[in-house]
Symmetry: C2
Subunit: 175 residues, 2 copies
């Protein structure tokens, strides 16, 4: 992948984290990377193609990151809580899949499908790590909701308050 294509996806990702699918324009992305908006179309034919590529890359990176972390720490709850904590504590504080997923029914179908794949991947990996389907759903909802509530309250510490109990119970279960 060319450097410019990567730079475009980086810029789009950051703006999608803050404002979702309608939170970025080709002109803004172009300015961010130092070219013109028509040149962005050379790398990504449409806005939906760019958004879908960004979501897929985020999903792939998350999947890879979790796999590597699980090799060092066998507790999936601790691994996933820490992974999303990184997103919650650093700007722009949100996971793009969460922002887009909240308005999934207003997205172009290919983009909504990539978002769906992301959350299905999260659930599948949690179950593969030993959680029951119900526990996987409950835990994933807690960390996703913690991102949204912390973002809304403008208080990153809210993420830790929301996830403290999950980690504590897990420690007990493991001990």
């Amino acid at each position: 992948m060319s450097d410019m294509k990567t730079a475009i996806m980086d810029a789009a990702e950051r703006r999608m984290q803050a404002g979702g699918f309608s939170g970025f324009s080709f002109r803004e992305i172009a300015t961010d990377v130092g070219i013109k908006s028509s040149s962005v179309h050379h790398h990504f034919p449409t806005k939906e193609a760019l958004a879908a590529a960004v979501i897929r890359r985020w999903a792939d990176r998350t999947s890879d990151h979790v796999d590597k972390a699980l090799a060092k720490d066998p507790d999936p709850v601790r691994v996933w809580t820490k992974a999303f904590r990184g997103t919650a504590l650093s700007e722009p504080h949100m996971c793009p899949c969460t922002v887009l997923g909240a308005s999934s029914h207003d997205l172009p179908k290919p983009v909504a499908e990539e978002v769906r794949r992301f959350f299905q991947m999260c659930l599948d990996k949690l179950v593969a790590s030993g959680l029951t389907p119900n526990k996987a759903s409950e835990f994933l909802s807690t960390i996703i909701g913690a991102l949204v509530v912390a973002n809304s309250l403008r208080d990153t510490a809210e993420y830790d308050r929301a996830t403290k109990g999950v980690l504590k119970n897990r420690a007990k279960a493991v001990a």
Copy 2:
């Protein structure tokens, strides 16, 4: 409040639930209620004023609904889980505060402030019902995240999977 003002807020609320702040336009709202877009401005001067009014009404209604439900059922976890379940199971499946909160940093300040007030109200009421601050944060995050994940997966049953464990543990704690 005039019937037309209420109808405008109803239309805006529904579109905000699906697409957030940028998910509705004055022309769409106008068509929904059968007037022209310029006439909408007679009732709400700006888009941000309309959005802020819709969020505030949603917060007030939620607060009132929960107060009444708590008078019949003393368990706040059951009451709040059931309240958001109604949103999750019926179209357009989302709480507008959750959709807007996910992209809080891309909102006009007065709108973001109303969203913040909504989530702070939820936490305050949960703590007033007897939950510790940490448990209130964890529980709120779980039901908010359940909305987002269920919406993204296009599977309303996901809300019940995510909240089943919370209700079960609560039943044990009460028993």
